[in-house]
Symmetry: C2
Subunit: 297 residues, 2 copies
Amino acid sequence: MIEHPRIANGWFRELSDDHFPGQALMLKVEEVLHHSKSEFQDILLFKSAEYGNVLVLDGIIQCTERDEFAYQEMISHVPLYSHKNPKKILVIGGGDGGVIREVVKHSCVESVTLVEIDRTVIELSEKYLPKMSSAFNHPKVDVKLCDGFKFLKETAGLNSVEKYDVIITDSSDPDGPAEAFFQKEYFQLIFNALKKDGIMIAQASENIWLDLNYLKNLMKTSRSIFKNTQYCYTMVPTYTSGQLGLIVCSKDETIDITVPQRKPDIKEQGLLRYYNPDIHSASFVLPTWANTIINVE
Amino acid sequence: MIEHPRIANGWFRELSDDHFPGQALMLKVEEVLHHSKSEFQDILLFKSAEYGNVLVLDGIIQCTERDEFAYQEMISHVPLYSHKNPKKILVIGGGDGGVIREVVKHSCVESVTLVEIDRTVIELSEKYLPKMSSAFNHPKVDVKLCDGFKFLKETAGLNSVEKYDVIITDSSDPDGPAEAFFQKEYFQLIFNALKKDGIMIAQASENIWLDLNYLKNLMKTSRSIFKNTQYCYTMVPTYTSGQLGLIVCSKDETIDITVPQRKPDIKEQGLLRYYNPDIHSASFVLPTWANTIINVE
């Protein structure tokens, strides 16, 4: 059996959140499928008893076959349905392929560029997560193997003609290669790379039950670039505390991103398992104490 | 140090859900405060590293000092604000005192009867969970030490004058002494004990990520008595998958329980940390796949 420091007695135990070390999730392991260290990170894939195949980067669960749609659908469809007519989409990270699979469900989308730093993640997803990685060869999809921060700086800069309608940052947490994605300079690069009615979304790496102060500061960082910054969440049972925060921003301050600007057409609706227009708006509604810290103070 | 079969190497590991044994939550233990077997159940109290004191019954986390308000507020205020003028309230279970603490925040409430089977839970909560058990001596509160099922059958029956505006079932899961609270006969007893505009709520013991089929059947059982049965949820990080389902029913079929009938007054509002009118409605909004199974099929 392939060994991994987080697996013992047939159970995987997630590395606790640095900001919140007193809790941990365990998943029962049926078979370890792969373990290696790529140029960028520690990569583990295992078959779990209840959640299908699981992808783990640097000790943190990234996705499982059973619940991945809750994350992929919300990080894709909240910004895409907040835009009236999104045609040109940029995805930073997302090497498992789940986000681009969701993006190409929109018939209005004309092109999707995926920028992933780690080729190994794409290759392993194609092997072990076939339902997530199904869109890599889609005719509208273009894959760039490079650092997302550098890509934005060099290719999609202030004077570039490469401007996007929606930019989705589907990164891992800030402790690994994704650290730069949580800094002010990155929000500025995204701002510059968006069209004037563009929308961006990024995973917040925390939720209201973990480090709320970190989240508050991240929102402040975002608001220093995008005045129209909102927080929503998606419920994913294999993420710490069962939920993950998402930061959604609109370059145009007059757009209310908590309300969908379009509804799924019949064809799109048939392809969606989690997202619907009601949950779009409900996902921005927070308990009073968290709302006060994130949005009022 | 006091021993408990679920604690090893300084970590508490929750007994996995019978319906879903492949995942488990762990909490770091600072000190075991109490372990005993009462007449009814195994009772553990420990001080955790991040969640304050934790109450565990039969191996399942019931509440922690850090996140208990998410459960107590939603199971109390969703039914109470769904009622225009609730005066007479019955709480079945809830021996930790958290629900009655919330109920007496409503100035319109005139009396609260708490029916708890296990005296030990009340005594231990008064000792180790002082912020939850603060309302036991409130002048509007009456505590009955008996089985809730029997109480309803004998005291609050069909021809009794003891009818309630709101009945809250704050029980443990159906595998222990609370088993009867998940049966059709119990829903009928509650129906009989409610006034004609009465509202009831009960914890569903599952959520949409666990045994959705069990939840669907529980909803069917409830709908065979209360045609107006709805599902909502609250987000509690120390419950499995980070959320818990609640079944809410109105005896009057014309009332829309997904919309508050009253809003918190200024005094009440200052006492609430989780509940607000927006989250009341948002908590009934489900992802498409779960909504289809619970509410459409």
